[in-house]
Symmetry: C2
Subunit: 281 residues, 2 copies
């Protein structure tokens, strides 16, 4: 069912990490016969290679903090791959190869101007350590089970990019909201969903560790964009025919909190675990 063409790139400027990960990955993969070459890079390009950058907190978005915080032109200074939404909860964001796409409430995707703002986004400079080929995965649960095998530790962040052909993809988007903003669960209760058959495209997103609860959602969060960049959305279900999975281990996290009164005054104490599951899955 599964072909592996695994390779390890140098784990950036973390000399220890690459060795640990090589050991862990070799232990995790029973089919792994050759130790990957490990050459710590003495001259990193940037301090932020391993950083996941987030605007706001997911709990704030859940509670309706939808006003755009920073412009897209600033967001793309912090990463070239990621997910999010737009000012007023105006659709689903897909960041791919440094370009930012808005999947509108009708499922159509358009490229976004730098001036548009985002109230919530998670991006990173994608620099994968590993790539595997996957085939014949019947559902999203099956894909997640395969992706799980690529995570050497439950205590780090991971960015994913999956380019492939899909028998089936189901996504959702969200329509722009007016003030007073309703909570996200009220919006997603009425969310438009979209189904794609025999489609080529890309999934991008993150796996977050359990300790981000309250700030983001532990586990997977992926968005989809068709190969021609005309449609997509927040991933709800998929069947992968064949695809290439790239994974980027992330060991730094940076978060920008909103500078508006709505965020300053809301009650973020309560756990929204159940509501997040309902809104995101």
């Amino acid at each position: 069912m599964k072909k592996q063409s695994m390779y390890l790139k140098t784990a950036s400027y973390f000399p220890y990490l690459s060795i640990i990960l090589a050991a862990l990955l070799c232990a995790a993969f029973s089919g792994c016969t050759a130790a990957p070459a490990v050459q710590p890079d003495p001259a990193p390009d940037s301090d932020f290679t391993e950083t996941v950058y987030q605007v706001s907190t997911l709990n704030a978005l859940m509670q309706g903090v939808y006003d755009g915080e920073i412009p897209i032109g600033q967001l793309t200074q912090e990463g070239d791959l990621g997910i999010g939404t737009f000012d007023g909860l105006d659709g689903e964001m897909v960041v791919l190869d440094g370009r930012v796409y808005q999947v509108r409430a009708d499922g159509k995707a358009v490229e976004v101007e730098d001036e548009v703002k985002t109230p919530f986004a998670v991006v990173t400079f994608f620099d994968p350590e590993q790539q595997v080929q996957l085939t014949g995965l019947e559902d999203y649960a099956g894909l997640q089970a395969e992706l799980d095998k690529l995570l050497p530790s439950p205590n780090m962040f991971y960015a994913f990019r999956i380019d492939g052909s899909f028998d089936y993809v189901k996504t959702r988007s969200v329509p722009r909201q007016n003030k007073p903003y309703p909570p996200l669960v009220e919006v997603t209760d009425l969310q438009p969903t979209f189904e794609f058959q025999d489609v080529q495209g890309t999934l991008v997103g993150f796996w977050c560790p359990s300790f981000v609860e309250g700030i983001n959602m532990p586990g997977y969060h992926l968005h989809f964009l068709t190969e021609d960049h005309t449609a997509g959305g927040h991933l709800l279900e998929c069947a992968l025919t064949e695809g290439s999975v790239s994974v980027d281990i992330k060991t730094e996290f940076q978060m920008l909190l909103p500078q508006n009164e709505h965020f300053a005054l809301i009650d973020l104490d309560e756990s929204l675990e159940e509501e997040i599951k309902q809104a995101e899955q």
Copy 2:
């Protein structure tokens, strides 16, 4: 009981924040009669003025991840005020005016070489927006109640510096541990404590919002250093005779996760709320 000589500095490069905070602070202080001058600064010194920088997670430290992660010389590139500990849990860290002090298990403080590493630390470049004078606070709870009034929102980070004379200060430190490292609660059960009477000194530290649970401790976390920089520790109790409190509102958070196998393999899923209270208070 309390004198206030409050002022608002320009809230750095966040034009909205300063206005919000001025409004919120005026609402919060019944004795506030004049609106503070608000002049957004168009040319910030640095992108990182408002960032709280953290090494590791508090839950990892609780579980005994005590191996030093980054050297002090690197930590001080990320902040000039803060708290933490050292490789092997070797004492309490106080960062003040860019200098890093180690309060050893005997309560004595020494300045630390750049090469020493830290497994857990929280630092920031201290740039306070507000300063108040406080007098005659009988205990730490009373101090916290006064500090609470300086927090315009429960959803941000705050850094504090309190220079003053104290009737009484009680601190603790922790002795260097050997492998296999025990959990922090086992160490703090046997912690040496120190009492100071009629002492001049400085408290430094942070207030963290509820959503950091799992990553850090919600609420206050302060460390003490005597005026002559020869003693101090993790604050357990105090009575403030008279002092100047400076508070710096922080709206960015950055976290570096450890690159070692111990961190990679521990179970961070369980809530350690009760253990953290026991260890830190």
